[in-house]
Amino acid sequence: MNKTAIEKRIFEIISKIIDIEIDKLTINSKRQDYETWDSLATVIIFMRLEEEFGVSFNEEDLKNLDSIQKIYEKIINKIKTL
């Protein structure tokens, strides 16, 4: 999976979970921008990302990765080190 494909998948996953159209999300979208991106959505997003990319996040990641940009970079890094 190349970088654009990964980015696209992340957008799809987040869009579906927080129920926001994919076009309305940007790489700079942040958790606090969306009411539906609550703590439950956050947990589900990370569960889904783990299942999708075979990577693992810790509890710190769940707190700190609060934008699509950060999530994307973390995943790219984790995949590199796999």
Partner: protein, 554 residues
């Protein structure tokens, strides 16, 4: 409105209920919801409750004497009692509960009595639930054990997010729980597909019968041939659910027919299918034709074909038709059938007598009448039925059938005279009359003996004492051709005139004009007479000629 209750954090299910209002009870509030009369589930808005119970968290550190497992069981049985009471008081609320899959957290893995504690725990819980669901019409089971078996524990269970967010299941697990829940609702509401269309080559058997020959296809009692044979058993069993079967296959009909008739390992027969589209036309047109013939919407159809090209074509041009993916590995056909075809397309919670009869009903009459709808020109329809009749005269082997027909035929029966077997035998033996019986065959099959005419001689005059036809076959010009052939036979015996009589009953009004429609003259009301030659001419002129064979065995 649906209420969801659980002893885990079940809220990830929310994302699947976007079009439905769902109340998620707070985490682990099952007892409170049932015990508090003012709780949400006691409001009138609630029509469905889904309860998901997971005890994996309680299994950690189970004591050797099994006492901690007993506590789990007590908790479970207590909740079941609450549910039962609620179910009895709220019979209009549908309750769906998962069954239990108990993880084997064995401290002493090879200690038999310890294993027994775990085994008993799971068994007692599931026995209780099953009993509850059998005794209460509004309680249904979501078979979580089955889902764990199909998809595997590791794909469904996620311990990490149990610790992080009290969510012990994967998002995939929530997805399949949701799908299973929908299938159960479909089954309860009786929303099921009606027709299963199958391809033949590499679907019902391995290989291509047109190329590999009947001996060359894979269909046997071992190896992959066995997988196809078992799959045929699965398809055949759909008939027991009242599902209609059809074939759409690009093939040579004669070869396929020979294959079905002569392959020793064939489970299905062509008779199992109510429509056959074995030709070289494109499958989209064939499926459309079947829909018209059966007068069913395209969304009633499931199309099973191994060929992705055909599947995509159907998906693209007939998007309402259900087109499941076909397993890449034919060894998986049976599992695929039970796990991915039955629950999704043919879910049922009960089998009715109507289901059991459906195939039989369609088998003979609907098949013919649906063809009738398709072929607007009735004469063309009759011609396409390819009807053949065989007429027997004084056939002693048919005495009991002939008597039976006189006893039970009410509609197409001109005089409704009932005869015993002895009566029939007497007429045949005493030679003071003739008994003609009619066998009916068309492209859909042989209906057997369905018509009787009894001619009696009285004072040198010949009377039609009885004229009857089973309602399965009349209206297809059979009645006229039957009479014509009898007249020809009588003429050959030197008979010139024929008398007849109509005795009205409550049920035989449809035949009141039968004799005038055959060229008889009315003598007085209900009494008719016709010259044999006139009758033959009248019938030949007015009605289609049907292929008839006369078998005389006096």
């Amino acid at each position: 409105m649906l209420a969801v209750l659980s002893n885990i954090n079940i809220e990830p299910l929310k994302m699947f209920f976007k079009n439905e209002k769902v109340y998620f009870a707070p985490y682990n509030q099952i007892r409170q919801e049932f015990l508090n009369n003012h709780s949400f589930i006691h409001s009138n808005d609630i029509h469905k409750i889904f309860i998901f119970l997971d005890y994996s968290k309680n299994l950690v550190g189970a004591s050797l004497d099994g006492k901690s497992l007993d506590l789990i069981q007590q908790d479970y049985l207590f909740i079941m009692d609450l549910i039962e009471e609620y179910a009895k008081n709220n019979t209009n609320v549908l309750i769906i509960i998962n069954n239990q899959f108990i993880e084997n957290n064995y401290l002493v893995p090879y200690y038999k009595h310890y294993m027994l504690h775990f085994y008993n725990l799971e068994k007692n819980m599931n026995d209780k639930l099953l009993k509850l669901s059998i005794e209460n019409k509004n309680i249904y089971i979501l078979d979580w054990q089955k889902l764990v078996k199909i998809y595997g524990f590791e794909k469904l269970v996620n311990k990490k997010y149990w610790y992080i967010g009290r969510i012990p299941l994967t998002t995939f697990a929530f997805e399949i729980i949701y799908k299973e829940y929908c299938n159960i609702l479909k089954a309860i509401k009786g929303i099921t597909k009606k027709v299963c269309i199958v391809d033949l080559d590499n679907t019902l058997w391995g290989g291509v019968v047109g190329d590999d020959g009947i001996d060359g296809i894979l269909l046997s009692e071992d190896g992959m041939g066995k997988a196809y044979r078992d799959f045929q058993k699965c398809i055949k069993s759909l008939k027991d659910l009242g599902i209609l079967l059809a074939i759409v296959s690009k093939n040579n009909y004669d070869i396929v027919k020979e294959c079905f008739n002569n392959h020793p390992m064939m489970v299905l027969s062509l008779d199992d299918f109510i429509v056959l589209k074995i030709n070289w036309n494109n499958k989209v047109d064939n499926i459309k034709e079947i829909a018209n013939q059966l007068n069913l919407g395209l969304d009633s159809f499931v199309f099973i074909d191994d060929n992705p090209f055909e599947r995509n074509l159907v998906k693209e041009y007939l998007p309402e038709v259900n087109v499941p993916e076909f397993p890449a590995d034919p060894y998986m056909l049976v599992d695929w059938f039970y796990y991915h075809i039955i629950p999704i397309y043919f879910p049922k919670s009960i089998i009715t007598d109507e289901d059991l009869e459906k195939n039989k009903q369609y088998k003979a009459n609907v098949k013919r009448s649906e063809l009738e709808k398709e072929v607007k020109d009735y004469n063309k329809y009759i011609a396409e039925l390819d009807i053949k009749i065989k007429i027997y005269k004084n056939n002693i082997n048919q005495i009991s059938r002939i008597s039976q027909l006189t006893q039970k035929t009410n509609q197409f029966n001109l005089t409704t005279k009932r005869y015993t077997e002895l009566d029939i035998e007497k007429i045949m033996k005493e030679q003071n009359g003739y008994i003609y019986s009619l066998e009916y065959i068309d492209k859909f099959g042989n209906e057997g003996i369905v018509g009787v005419v009894i001619i009696v001689k009285k004072d040198d005059k010949y009377y039609i004492d009885t004229f009857l036809l089973s309602c399965r076959v009349f209206g297809r010009f059979v009645e006229f051709n039957f009479l014509k052939k009898i007249c020809i036979d009588l003429r050959d015996s030197g008979i010139k005139e024929l008398y007849s009589h109509y005795i009205p009953t409550q049920k035989n009004i449809i035949v009141k004009d039968f004799y005038t429609n055959c060229g008889f003259d009315t003598l007085e009301e209900g009494y008719f007479c016709g010259k044999i030659d006139d009758i033959i001419e009248y019938i030949s002129k007015n009605y289609i000629d049907i292929n008839a064979e006369v078998v005389i065995n006096e």
